[in-house]
């Protein structure tokens, strides 16, 4: 009797837990539905507001920009510049495929700043088209670029970041790559990898540290393996958890984007077409075809560009010293030449 009673209580408790979980799930679903409907209302409001404001559409090449008549001259000039840069980069691929979505520029209260740089605006308009054209390409290049696409020249800061990664991350090939070894750079950039990515990138003594610095959220067995790898230095656990998808790359996505940018620049007209022509070829071959150069030459250029941008010493330059002394002397002379005390 008492056993049956306990069993009934256990079943009731379990049922209550399931019920409460269902309640929470139902509440969550309800909130999501409400949020979705609010988003739809907001989008509709934006659309109505924009239809009222947008009285003009600028069409330049494949670019279509809805804007106001007042903003048209500026937008038209910037769009022409943007389209020229798109055609120069992507060639025929810019006009192929489905039309690009209509972009919106400005709002009812938009007043263009006096300091507006037309080139800046052109870059802003070209950015979404760059993304759209890259997204149309095959999955191999998309996977290799890890979803980040090159949208133009990288900044000096990006080059510093890539250089710092080569020094900070203890991948087998990073140091040699920074010294100009093209083959090492190919390994760091994931161009010539065999089946065991982890072992090819990192020596086993770096694996526990790699697991400890993992920023990929893992749960369950993967979390247990990560802890075993990081704390107990169990290499089999490291090998199991540090899969190619989540292992820290020796060089981040911006390094790969830089290589593609260098290839497209070296290749000139038609480079993008050659890069995307043969979707079955390896990335290495495609980059070589795009640039018209042996891939090792391209990788050497990449390594040279990165090592040239390494920050080095924080010592002030001669110009810094000169400027500081000149300003200090001028300010000091102004301060001491007066005769009044107060």
């Amino acid at each position: 009797m008492s056993r049956r009673f306990v069993l009934t209580i256990v079943v009731l408790v379990l049922w209550a837990v399931v019920l409460s979980a269902q309640d929470s799930a139902a509440m969550l679903r309800g909130m999501e539905t409400r949020l979705d409907s609010l988003r739809k209302v907001a989008a509709r409001a934006d659309s109505v507001r924009f239809q009222y404001f947008a009285t003009d559409t600028v069409r330049v090449g494949g670019l279509r920009i809805a804007t106001s008549a007042a903003l048209r001259p500026v937008v038209e000039a910037a769009a022409a510049e943007a389209w020229d840069s798109i055609v120069a980069r992507f060639g025929a691929a810019a006009s192929e495929g489905a039309p690009f979505p209509v972009m919106q520029f400005g709002g009812p209260e938009t007043v263009l700043p006096r300091s507006l740089d037309r080139r800046e605006l052109a870059r802003g308009l070209a950015g979404p088209l760059h993304q759209a054209i890259w997204r149309r390409q095959d999955s191999r290049i998309d996977t290799w670029l890890r979803g980040g696409f090159p949208t133009g020249l990288l900044s000096e800061e990006d080059l510093v970041t890539i250089g710092s990664q080569l020094v900070r991350i203890p991948a087998r090939s990073n140091r040699a790559c920074l010294d100009g070894d093209a083959s090492a750079c190919a390994n760091s950039l994931g161009l010539r990898l065999g089946a065991d990515t982890l072992a090819e990138w990192y020596s086993p003594d770096a694996w526990p540290g790699l697991a400890a610095r993992m920023d990929w959220p893992v749960t369950g067995r993967a979390a247990w393996l990560r802890d075993r790898c990081a704390d107990a230095r169990a290499l089999d656990a490291c090998h199991a958890v540090l899969t190619p998808t989540i292992v820290l790359q020796p060089v981040g996505g911006s390094g790969r984007q830089l290589l593609v940018t260098l290839a497209l620049e070296a290749g000139g007209a038609g480079a993008f077409g050659r890069l995307t022509a043969d979707s079955g070829a390896t990335i290495e071959h495609r980059l070589s075809a795009a640039s018209g150069l042996p891939v090792d030459t391209l990788l050497f250029r990449w390594s040279h560009a990165v090592s040239a941008a390494l920050p080095g010493s924080p010592a002030p330059s001669g110009m810094d010293v000169l400027l500081t002394l000149a300003w200090s002397t001028a300010v000091l002379l102004l301060a001491v030449r007066g005769s009044r005390w107060r």
């Binding site: 540290g209 924080p314 010592a315 010293v321 000091l332 001491v336």
Partner: protein
């Protein structure tokens, strides 16, 4: 004469100078505290630590400049310049001596930063391609301190009339900025002034850099 001015400056500002020198000595040591082994991830950890503490150096340089510039003028302002007027020297010479005395104390703070940086970096075996820059960092610190100290020294010594004028200009800047914002003029005079003060050829441009004790 310089010795007397320096001693008077020291008496008035010694607490701030000792505190700042202590901080300048401690920051590099704290940034690289702990044991550094030959782990493959040493470069990662060292560069991360250096980057985390790097904003501390320009802040100390600025704090030292502010404390010394205030210390150069505050005793005279407080006693209505009676001590300075009793001295048998011209105003300009007296100001030069005051300025140089402050500079000497700034050098002392810079020297303690150098000592701290050298101790912190000498106890570490650096991984390949990673370099320590104790002297270079101290040089930048010294120049930044000099630049900020000079500007603040000049501002602290302004006559009340000139000070009022500068305050009025600042107020006008704020009012114009607010008005421009209300009129949607897309123009921000305060941002323009800040940009001019920190621009590449400005008096404070020396502050614009990577203040890394350890870098690639």
């Amino acid at each position: 004469m310089f010795r007397a001015v320096l001693m008077s400056f020291w008496r008035e500002s010694r607490l701030a100078v000792i505190l700042l020198a202590g901080i300048a000595l401690a920051v590099p040591l704290l940034s690289l505290r702990g044991t550094w082994t030959t782990d493959p991830w040493t470069a990662w950890d060292l560069l991360g630590a250096a980057a985390r503490w790097s904003p501390g150096y320009p802040v100390i340089a600025l704090a030292a400049a502010m404390a010394l510039a205030a210390g150069a003028w505050w005793p005279d302002h407080r006693t209505k310049h009676v001590y300075a007027l009793t001295l048998p020297v011209a105003r300009s010479r007296y100001l030069w001596l005051r300025y140089l005395a402050g500079l000497a104390l700034l050098l002392a703070i810079g020297a303690s930063l150098l000592v701290g940086s050298l101790i912190a970096t000498l106890r570490i075996t650096l991984p390949p391609l990673v370099h320590a820059y104790p002297v270079a960092l101290t040089l930048r610190f010294g120049l930044a301190g000099l630049s900020a100290y000079t500007v603040l020294f000049a501002l602290s010594g302004l006559t009340p009339r000139m000070a009022r004028l500068i305050v009025a200009v600042c107020c006008a800047l704020v009012i114009v900025t607010v008005a421009a914002e209300l009129l949607s003029l897309e123009w921000n005079p305060i941002a323009t002034v800040v940009e001019a003060l920190l621009g590449p050829y400005s008096p404070l441009s020396i502050f614009r850099a990577r203040w890394m004790l350890i870098d690639v």
